[in-house]
């Protein structure tokens, strides 16, 4: 063990890294659970390669005394499980980092201004226990020990993991965790590291939840009972979640032969009275575009979970980006209304996914839940959602004999019947149609039907979510964010602490709230922060309001913004001229 500075604080960043398929995921899952149980605020995010085995992946776990929902670039405690992984994260390592690893890995650290290193015999201990795979549990116990988590919590976690056919492995894993725990206690006792993070009593009542789980729970709360999709990273996590819950929640979950089938199934299911969702990513969604027009034309509700990843084409399949806003916004040929929601956190993902179903059903339009790999794969310590007792109210009506599916109404919304309930017939047609649903080529009817569909925008206005202003109302500069980028902007601005600089965050990105222009006009400077190369939201804002971003902070390398990076880039702008 080499000498070095001792890190402690109330906000620490742990980095686990190693090959795919070698268990860093299990270390993450065990330790984050334990740390949360111990009353710490925990936030974790992952970056990983598009491969099943090998390569180098990493998970960053942030542990704090207060609520944290954004990634730190800084690494306080580093756990590389192989030498390649250490190289992979090298650029984030400073002389303040403490590196815990087996001796052979430590030996590869050459630089004198490198991290503080502590040899920890994770693998050696595991091998002595009979198998190198126990190293993951040694590491989990070790991390728990570092944070002084009560060992009984670990014991309980190990019991819960090894049940059924795997129960025989409980004892040895328990022992592995114990030995790891003891190794850590020794390090703490030696004074190399001591956690000063204080448990927070509110944590106990919070959920520890991934973005994917949040979307799934929100969908269930919104009454989702039909999911048809085709696997595609990073959206598959939601499909898997729904499949797990299918039996309990009486939900149809079907893997379609392709995305075109998936979305047509979903629309067919709505027609027959289900509440259906597709979950997909950019390339898969691109294949659903024709059916967007179908939903638009037949006025079918539809919920699309679109988990963004960097494009174009296959791009970086397992990475993150906010690059498909325009794709969703202008998807489908012809013109028809739609709604785009973009949750900022897991908690909001629950709320907005639920809301997506209500909005889709109320206005009979497609509603997007726009997430990204970063949000989907991150775990948040979140205030639990309020899920009230009454099931979703559906707007389906029992049809009368003379039922007309497309009856012209002032707000453009016609009562929606379904086949098999009532005395009427439900006729829907992808051609332009009359009120009954029959094909028409009458130009007046056509115009009336376009007007009917577009009238929904006015009706929807009361349900548009306000952007949230974070910071003082007396601002000269607005930093604008949307979707998953919200929390990191918020924290970077808190750190910068510049007076007159506030954040305007959008969780509904279309239609925009009527107040949007008012917020923008008060700002002398508008800084757009987006995870894409062309500032798509900035473009939308300008198209809608005429206001133009004076500056843009864009990132499109496949990784999320970190707090420090954003702080630095925002600070760098201070020197820049404010354009008129």
């Amino acid at each position: 063990m080499s000498a070095g500075k001792v890190r402690s604080g109330n906000d620490l960043s742990l980095l686990l890294c190693g090959e795919a398929g070698r268990g860093i995921q299990s270390v993450e899952s065990v330790t984050t659970g334990l740390l949360k149980s111990a009353g710490f605020h925990v936030f974790s995010w992952k970056e990983f390669m598009s491969r099943v085995r090998g390569g180098s992946n990493s998970t960053t776990i942030r542990v704090a005394s207060h609520s944290v929902e954004a990634p730190l670039g800084r690494v306080d405690l580093l756990f590389p499980f192989d030498a390649a992984a250490l190289r992979h994260v090298r650029h984030r390592v400073t002389s303040d980092t403490i590196l815990f690893a087996d001796e052979d890995i430590i030996d590869t650290v050459q630089s004198p201004d490198g991290p503080v290193t502590a040899v920890v015999p994770f693998r050696k201990t595991a091998v002595e226990l009979g198998n190198a795979v126990y190293a993951n549990m040694v590491a989990s116990g070790f991390i728990a020990g570092l944070f002084d988590v009560d060992f009984t919590l670990i014991g309980a976690r190990v019991e819960s993991l090894f049940t059924g056919p795997r129960a025989g492995l409980a004892a040895v894993n328990h022992e592995a965790a114990r030995q790891g725990y003891d190794l850590a206690r020794k390090i703490v006792d030696d004074g190399l590291f001591r956690s000063t993070i204080i448990p927070d009593s509110v944590v106990h009542d919070r959920a520890f939840i991934s973005g994917a789980e949040a979307v799934g729970i929100g969908a269930l709360a919104g009454g989702c009972n039909f999911v048809s999709s085709y696997p595609m990273s990073p959206s598959t996590a939601v499909l898997v979640f729904m499949a797990e819950k299918a039996r309990e929640f009486e939900c149809v979950v079907e893997q379609a032969e392709d995305e075109i089938s998936a979305v047509n199934m979903a629309i067919g299911a709505w027609y027959a009275g289900a509440r259906a969702m597709v979950t997909t990513s950019g390339g898969g969604f691109a294949l659903m575009e024709e059916a967007m027009g179908l939903a638009g034309m037949i006025e079918s509700p539809l919920v699309i979970h679109l988990a963004q990843r960097p494009g174009p084409a296959t791009g970086l399949p397992t990475r993150t980006e906010q690059g498909d806003l325009q794709l969703a916004l202008y998807s489908g040929h012809g013109e028809f209304p739609r709604i785009l929601l973009a949750p900022a956190t897991a908690r909001e993902a629950i709320e907005l996914s639920r809301r997506a179903f209500h909005m889709a059903d109320r206005y009979q339009v497609p509603v997007f839940i726009l997430t990204d790999q970063y949000l989907i794969d991150s775990y948040y310590t979140a205030i639990p959602p309020e899920i009230d007792g009454s099931p979703p109210i559906s707007n389906i009506v029992e049809t009368e004999r003379d039922y007309r599916r497309y009856r012209l109404t002032p707000d453009g919304v016609s009562p929606r019947g379904i086949p098999g309930w009532g005395a009427g017939l439900v006729m829907v047609d992808s051609d332009e149609h009359d009120e009954e649903g029959h094909i028409t080529e009458n130009h007046q009817v056509r115009t009336a039907m376009v007007d009917k569909r577009m009238a929904k925008y006015a009706a929807m206005e009361r349900d548009v979510l306000q952007p949230s202003l974070v910071g003082s109302e007396e601002y000269h500069t607005l930093v604008v964010s949307w979707g998953s980028t919200g929390p990191v902007v918020r924290e970077a601005l808190e750190r910068l602490g510049r007076p007159g600089v506030s954040q305007l965050h959008f969780s509904q990105v279309f239609p925009l709230h009527v107040n949007t222009a008012h917020y923008l006009e008060k700002a002398r400077r508008i800084i757009l922060v987006e995870g894409n190369a062309t500032s798509q939201f900035g473009r939308l804002l300008r198209a809608e309001t005429g206001y133009r971003a004076t500056d843009r902070i864009l990132k499109y390398d496949g990784l999320p913004f970190t707090v420090e990076e954003l702080e630095r880039r925002l600070a760098a702008l201070d020197g820049g001229e404010v354009e008129p």
Binding site: S228, G273, A291, M427
Partner: protein, 286 residues
């Protein structure tokens, strides 16, 4: 005059005079009357094309969706509400061309739907281009030197994919067509009826007469439970066999495989989400 249960309202039929589609429409309406169903329980799902306009000319619920996409829609409707009778009907361009992938995979699912294909060996609505079943050499404004692809063989592919009911009919024979449709509709599981249909405007090769001259009916010598025999018949291309090629009864249908129908037949729209369970789920994540 018209008084059939499934007769459509007063709507201008957009088909050409003399088109084989009329005969199919009549046979289908008759078949539906025979199977004892009411229009309110029937959902016709179609794509885009001349054939796909058929639901507009009937009395029924319908979903006239996108070109090529009738089968996923029909499968989903049946799954969301197994109490409905669902028929997916379109032209062969729609079902085997644009929709070919759904054709392949819908068969694998074996939903209890009937798949009726108006096979006129041409793209009618778009004015006469080759369709997947057009014969080699067929000249069109796009296939100026004649079709250079092997025709798609829907029956052989359906046999290969283990479809549970496979038949070919001819629009010109009302009774045989109607009877086959009755059998297909009453079959439990996916049932394919490929109907040879003359297109008087764009297919001057495969006329009513041509079909009469180039078809024959399968007789008792054909064992419709023998998949290899069905395949051999499906390969015959002149004359083309008509009738039931293959049927397998008793196979599990797609909708039956979902856990939610194990204990209750209720369609999805009649079920209420257990909000307490959702709350428990969220709480379990603490």
């Amino acid at each position: 005059m018209k008084t059939g249960l499934f007769d459509g309202g007063d709507i201008d039929i957009a088909w050409c005079p003399g088109c084989g589609n009329y005969a199919i429409l009549e046979a289908l309406k008759k078949a539906l009357e025979e199977v004892n169903i009411v229009p309110e329980q029937l959902v016709m799902v179609s794509g885009i094309g001349q054939a796909a306009k058929i639901p507009h000319y009937m009395k029924c619920n319908f979903f006239n969706g996108l070109h090529g996409r009738a089968l996923p829609v029909a499968t989903a409707i049946k799954t969301a509400n197994p109490g409905l009778m669902v028929i997916a009907e379109s032209g062969e361009g729609d079902m085997y061309g644009e929709g070919g992938n759904h054709f392949l995979h819908a068969i694998r699912r074996n939903p209890d739907i009937t798949n009726i294909v108006h096979n006129n060996l041409v793209y009618g609505l778009t004015k006469g281009q080759a369709s997947p079943t057009s014969l080699r050499g067929f000249v069109t404004p796009v296939q100026v030197a004649g079709v250079n692809l092997e025709p798609f063989n829907p029956l052989a592919v359906a046999v290969a994919q283990k479809a549970t009911f496979i038949a070919r009919a001819f629009a010109g024979d009302h009774d045989e067509l109607k009877n086959l449709l009755v059998r297909a509709i009453t079959h439990r599981g996916y049932a394919l009826v490929d109907i040879l249909q003359p297109c008087v405007s764009f297919n001057k090769l495969n006329t009513f007469k041509w079909f009469r001259d180039h078809t024959y009916y399968l007789d008792e010598s054909h064992d419709s439970s023998d998949r290899v025999a069905a395949f051999r018949r499906a390969l015959e291309d002149d004359p083309l066999p008509l009738g039931l090629f293959y049927e397998e009864t008793g196979a599990t249908t797609f909708e039956q495989t979902f856990s939610l129908y194990e204990t209750s037949d209720l369609p999805l729209f009649r079920r209420k989400r257990d909000m307490a369970a959702v709350r428990r789920l969220a709480e379990a994540l603490r």
